[in-house]
Amino acid sequence: MTSSDTRKSLVLHGVVLVLLFAVQFAASDYMTLTLTRMMVLAVFAMGFNILYGYTGLLSLGHAVFFGAGVYGAGLTIYHLGWPVPLAFAAGIIGSAVVAAGIGALALRTVRDSFMILTMMLSQVGFLLVLYFNTVTGGDQGLSLPQASRVFTLAGASVDLAQPVTRYNIAFVLLLVTVALSFTLLQGPFGRVLRAIRENEARTEMLGYDVRRAKFFAFVISGTVAGMAGAAYAILFGYIGATFTGIQYSIEALLFTLLGGAGTLLGPLLGTVLMTMLIDRLSEITSAYFLWLGFILIALTLWFPKGLLGAIRQRWLPWLT
């Protein structure tokens, strides 16, 4: 990528972010809430995309990392009364640990085994949440007390019950994720991941420590997902077993596939579109996942590169 390509890409991403920030001034309260949710879920999908789109490893159990963040933050608030910033950190660290543990196991396998293994280990996480339901609240879940959702940051009091506050926190989270991903993936590490995705054997024979690179990608991917989970729990004040369930793992895949795997903004686009679609559909039927199933099949058959992936291929080769 030439530096002018990088500049074009940077400008595009900057514009998108500015627009996202500006929307809040025109949006209704309901829209603001929905967008907040979308942004947090987009961070989840972006974390997933680091592993799937950029490194070429399909994890079918990313919900376990999201869940680790949810419970890391949620339980420390609920049971230990920790203040929000500390709980957030706990969520991130918790998911990093889980990612390291699962990565150490899962990366010993390849292809189908890897996919199945990540699915199963995630399922174990889900079952453990159910099994220890006295602590976790199991299926029913736990609501975080109102009082816990006010905290002080750098002297200012932050009240998470305010939609505007939540929106901007989610926005900052997204901004940080985009910035970090951009730096990481544009640089040499991104090149290594891409090389691994395209041809692992070749990359090994060029002297790269492929195992270590994959492990880093895995842990970063899981930690970003966990960061989204911690944010979700804190911003919406609820933790529950569904966040570790297979549906969340499939949604991460679906959002990323639709928007364009291997593109930075693809997961964001996919999340926005799919969340809107799901919201419409679930008003009509409780079986909305039927349509998600069709979309998944259609994507694999006819549209594997997703929206931004196809755009990048046809018109904008400089798109990150």
Binding site: T109, V110, D112, L127, Y131, A287, L290, G293, I295, T300
Partner: protein, 293 residues
């Protein structure tokens, strides 16, 4: 009831579960073995079989035996057809690529599952067994239908084994599994074999479901457990190896049944999932490590 008889009861229950599991797992093993694809929707074929059985038997409200026999015929045929179509429309177009197939079958899982939710509804509905007869054992009464299930599974397994080892059809399937390129060179229509195998695998799951539905009720979410268990069986039993699958199914079905009786079902699931996860870790060359040319 003393501990001994209780354990015997648990074992019988385990055997019933194992019978159903072995049929489902062999269906999955055939698909794994011959087509080298992971079908995440396999559990939904099972569920579809059960729901179809309920539907068919509801057409014969006063004659459960006839309803049962009808279900035993119609259900595998219907489910097999659904599978056949799925293979033709989807899997074949994806050229059986590992990653795309998994993602597409996940989509298929949701399509099947939620279609049933929309048409059949979220309730669990019972089906009458074809006959009620309690066998009086010294310690407890036991349903003769459950014993029938065990016997039926054994007979079916024998038929499958015979078909695979002794008939021309079985030979074609085994040849395709062993080396599909050479098989094609010998004029074997590999793609058609794949469609047929996919259909047969699904039909087997449907038969298993028809057998179990008088004992368990038909519910749109009932596919998840059989999926996980048959994955476990096939992975532990050794892919493509029918004998291994049978042994593993008996062991796992038994232990899952017994564990569920003595401990919580959730714990049983955690243990079996972790077990197969560990097996996967120590098969670092992927699911299809068994030498394929």
């Amino acid at each position: 009831m003393g501990l001994g008889p209780f354990f015997f009861l648990a074992t019988l229950e385990g055997l019933v579960q194992a019978s159903v599991l072995v049929l489902t797992a062999v269906g999955l093993a055939l698909v794994f073995g011959v087509m080298r694809v992971v079908n995440v929707a396999h559990g939904e074929f099972f569920m579809l079989g059960a729901v179809t059985a309920w539907f068919v038997s509801s057409l014969f409200p006063d004659h459960p035996a006839i309803g049962f026999i009808a279900a035993l015929v119609v259900s595998p045929l219907f489910v097999g057809t659904v599978a056949f179509i799925s293979d033709r429309l989807i899997l074949r177009r994806l050229k059986y690529n590992a990653e795309s197939t998994i993602v597409a079958t996940i989509g298929l899982l949701y399509v099947l599952q939620q279609s049933v939710l929309m048409s059949y509804g979220p309730d669990a509905r019972p089906v009458d067994p074809p006959f009620y007869y309690t066998i009086r054992l010294p310690w407890f009464g036991y349903s003769s239908y459950k014993l029938f299930v065990i016997a039926a599974a054994a007979v079916l397994l024998g038929l499958i084994w015979f078909a695979l080892k002794r008939t021309r059809w079985g030979l074609i399937m085994r040849a395709t599994q062993f080396d599909s390129e050479t098989a094609q060179a010998f004029g074997i229509p590999v793609e058609r074999v794949y469609s047929a195998v996919f259909a047969i695998g699904a039909a087997l799951a449907a038969v298993a479901a028809v057998l179990i539905v008088p004992i368990q009720q038909a519910h749109y979410l009932m596919g998840t457990d059989p999926l996980l268990l048959s994955f476990t069986v096939v992975i532990i039993g050794g892919l493509g190896s029918i004998q291994g699958t049978i042994i593993a199914a008996v062991l796992i079905g038994l232990s899952d049944g017994i564990l569920s009786v003595f401990f919580s079902p959730t714990l049983a699931k955690i243990v079996s999932t972790l077990l197969v996860a560990l097996v996967l870790v120590f098969r670092p060359n992927g699911l299809f490590a068994k030498a394929r040319r």
